[in-house]
Amino acid sequence: MGFERMIERSLPAGLSRRAFLKAGAAAGGGLLIGIGLPGLMGGAEAAGKDAAEFTPNAFVRIGRDGRVTLVMSQVEMGQGTYTSMPMLIAEELEVPLEQVTLEHAPPDNKLYGNPLFGVQITGGSTSVRAYWVPLRQAGASARSMLITAAAQHWKVDPAACHAERGEVIHAATGRKLKYGALADAAAKLPLPDKVALKDPKDFKLIGTPAKRLDTPDKLNGKAQFGIDARLPGMKIATVAACPVFGGKPVKFDEAKARATPGVHQVVALDNAVAVVADHMWAAKQGLAALDIQWDEGPNARLKTDDIVAQMAQAAEQPAADALAIAKNEGDVTKAAAAAPTKVDAVYQAPFLAHATMEPMNCTVQVTKDGCDIWTGTQVISVAQLVASKITGLPLEKVRVHNHLLGGGFGRRLEVDYVMQAVQIAKQVDGPVKVVWTREEDVQHDMYRPYYYDKLSAALDDKGMPVAWSHRIVGSSIIARFIPGAIKPGEPDPDAVEGAAETIYDIPNRHVDYVRHEPPGIPTAFWRGVGPTHNIYVVESFIDELANKAGKDPLDYRRALLGKSPRALAVMNLAAEKAGWGKPMPAGSGRGVSVQFAFGSYVSQVAEVAVDKDGSLRVQRVVCAVDCGYTVNPDTVRAQMEGGIIFGITAVLYGQITLENGRVQQSNFHNYQMLRMNQAPLVEVYLLPSAEAPGGIGEPGTAALAPAVLNAIHAATGKRLRKLPVDTAQLAST
C-alpha cells in the first residue's frame, strides 16, 4: 500500500529502533511483558515516554505452567506469521518453539496497531519487518528477569546462571528451575534497563526451517476459518448485490423465496437482497426464487474498452490536478534530444479479482447491548469501527473474533463484506452467517486497478539508456484507503512503487503519475500491490531496450546494476542456476527479471515453450532471493513458490472485464486459476544476508510476469505489452 513509502515515513531511523517494554504480573499469575512499538507512539519515544501513558502493542505472557503466550494482531493467511512471530520470541527467551502459543489480539488500535501503520493491518509484507527487533527485545528482557529471579532464589550471581529450553540453570551446582516456577517472582522484578540481543551467529531457531505451528489442524479439518464459525441458533444467508455497480433492487418476489423449504426471511439492503435460511442450499434456492429486478443506475452501459479509452486519453492529456511527479532526475528532454535511438511503448495491466479460496463471509449477531463479529480480516480494528458506525453501538461494545484467513492477497484489507453482514444482521433475530457464492465473490470484488503505462527511452550510441520516461495512469487505492494520506501534487506512493525508484543506473529519469478513477468499478490492493504492476512494466521495457541494442538481456542489466550489488547478486545467482545461455529447443525461451521491492531483492528466470497454435506453457521458474536476515527460510521458499504460481495465473488468465456494467467473469471456468497439470518446476535459492529482514509475501508475484513475457519474446520474437497473454498473437503463421 505504498507500503514502502509509508514505512519510510513512519520509521525515520530505519527498522532497528528500540521498542518500549513494561513488565508486571499477569492476571491469573505469571509474568507479563507489554511491548510498545515506536511507530505507534508518535515522536514521544525519542524523548522517553511517560510510563503512565505507555500502551503496549503486543504482550508476552509466561504462565505458571511455563507456557508462553504471545498476544498480537498479525493474522495468519498462509504467509507463516503464526510461526515466524513466535520464533522471534522463542529465540531470545530460550524456549522451544512448541512452548509458544499465539493468541489473537482483540480489536484495539491503540494497543495492537501495526507499528508501521498505526492501525491493525496485516499487509504489505510487513509483519517480520515490524516485529523483528521488538519481539526479540521482549524475549531477552523476560529471559533476563527469569534468570535474576532464579539467582535470587539460589542466592547466587545472575551472571553464573543461564537459560536453556525453558529453564534457568546454575551450572556450578547443576540446579535448575523451570520458567513456570519463576514467573511470579520475575513479575516482581524491575525490567532491566538494557538487554543485549543475541549475536545472529548464536541463533538456534531464527534462520532454521521451523515447522509451522498452524499446520497440524489444517490437515484434519479442525482449523477454523471465518466461514466455519458456528453458533447456537445461527442462520445462513446468501446475498445478491446489483450486478451493475451503483445499481439497486427495485422489485423481487419475496413470497416465492419464503415458500422455499428452509427459508426464513428476505432482507433488502440499498444495493442488495439477502435470503436468510437454515442452510446455504436453502438460502441459494430462495435467492434464485426472488427473481430480482434491478435499477442498474448510471453504469448500465459501461464496458472495459471505454475505461481504457479514457485512460489512454488521460495519458496524453492529463488533467492538471490529476498529474503528480514521482521522480525527476537530470534532464530527460535534453538527453533524449541528443541520443541517436528512441524506444516508445505502451503497457497495459487488467482489472483483477482476488478469488481467495475461502469466499467472502462474515457472521454477525447484533443485540441492543452489543455486536459480535466472527470473520477473517486483515484489518480487525477497521471492521470494529464500521460495525460501530452501522449499529450505533460504542466501539467497546463491538467485538471482532478473528479467524484464520482462507487467503488474503489484499482482499481482506477491505471491510465491504463485514459492513454488508452487519447491515443484514441488524434485521435478523439471532446470529447470521452471510456467505457469498463464488459468483458474488468474483463479481463484487474490489479489483486490482487497470493500469495504462506510457514509456519512452533514449539510448546512446552503445545502446545504453541515457533517458527514461514513464507515465503511470491508474486509480489511487491509497487515496481511498487512507483519506488525507496523499497531499495535493503528490503521487500515490503505491501506484508508483517499483517505478519511481530504480535499481538501474540511468542518468536522466522522469516518472509521473496520472490519477484516473474508473467509473463503476471499485479498486483495491492485490498481492504485490504497486510493484506487481510496475515491475511487470519496467522489467519488460528494460528487456525491450536490450533487444533494441542487440544485447543479451542479462548482460544489458549487468551493465546497469553497478550501483545495486544485491540486485546484481540475486540476478547472477538466478541466471547461473537456470543455466542462462544454454541452448533451448525451437519455440522455447528464457526470460529474466530482477527487482527491489518490499525490502527484498528478487530475480527470476522463466522458461516457456510456445506451440504453433500459440498455446503457452511455463515450464520452469528459477528464483533467487536476498530478503535480508531470514527468520524461517522454508517460509520464504514457500512464499516464493506460491507467489510464482499466483503470478502465472495472472499472466496466463487473469482479467476482469465489464460489459453493460457487469463483470463478465463469474466462477473458475471463466476466471481461471493455474492447476497442478500446468504448474512449472520451481526452484528457489536464498542468498545469505545479514541485512534487516525484507518482506516475502508479495515480491515473488511481482517478479514473475516480466520474466515470463521476456521468455515469450526470447521464444517467439514477439513482445506482448498487455496482460493476460493473448495466445492468438503467439500463433506462428
Binding site: R230, M280, E358, I645, M673
Partner: protein, 164 residues
C-alpha cells in the same frame, strides 16, 4: 429425513433430497472441515470420498448417497493412505492458508489408496481438479511422491491387508 453413513457413523439430516452433501455436512451436521469453494465442481475444495472415490460434495445431492460410505477430512487420517498423505504434507510443509487442503488431501489420499506408485501424469490427472490459490502445487506433487515412498516402506502389512 435423510440417512447418511459418514466416517462409519449413521447421521440423520432434515434436508430435501436435492440438497448437496457439502451443505448438509457443513450447515446441518456441523462438520466444517469440508470446504466450500465454487459450488460447481470446479475447484475441489469440497472433495470427500464416497466408497473411496474422490467426489465433489458441492454437486452431490444427498439422495444419491443412500447406502454409500462417505469419508471426510475429519476421518481420513484413520485410513492408511490418508495417514501417509497427512504425514508427508506435514514433513514437506505443503500448507499455506490451508483452506483448499482438506480437498487436496482427500483427492491425494484417494489417488494413493488406488495407486501405490503414482507417476507425474497420474498426479496431474488426480489433482488438477483441486485449485490452490496459495500455489502449493510444487509441494503437493513432492508430498504425494514421498507419501507413496513411505507407504512402500510400511508396505508388508498393507500388502497383506490390501491384497492386489
Amino acid at each position: 429425513m435423510i440417512t447418511l453413513n459418514i466416517n462409519g457413523q449413521i447421521h440423520q439430516a432434515d434436508v430435501t433430497p436435492d440438497t448437496p452433501l457439502l451443505w448438509t455436512l457443513r450447515d446441518v451436521l456441523g462438520m466444517t472441515g469440508t470446504k466450500f469453494g465454487c459450488g460447481m465442481a470446479l475447484c475441489g475444495a469440497c472433495t470427500v470420498q464416497v466408497d473411496g472415490q474422490p467426489t465433489r460434495s458441492c454437486v452431490t445431492p444427498v439422495a444419491a448417497l443412500a447406502g454409500k460410505k462417505i469419508t471426510t477430512i475429519e476421518a481420513i487420517g484413520s485410513t492408511p493412505a490418508g495417514k501417509h498423505i497427512q504425514e508427508a504434507w506435514r514433513d514437506l510443509e505443503v500448507v499455506q492458508c490451508g483452506y483448499c487442503q482438506s480437498g487436496q488431501i482427500m483427492s491425494a489420499s484417494a489417488l494413493l489408496a488406488g495407486n501405490p506408485h503414482p507417476s507425474d501424469e497420474d498426479i496431474d490427472n488426480a489433482m488438477s481438479g483441486n485449485i490452490c490459490r496459495c500455489g502449493t502445487y510444487v509441494r503437493i506433487r513432492a508430498a504425494i511422491k514421498q507419501a507413496a515412498q513411505n507407504a512402500q516402506g510400511a508396505a508388508p502389512a498393507h500388502n497383506a491387508a490390501g491384497g492386489a
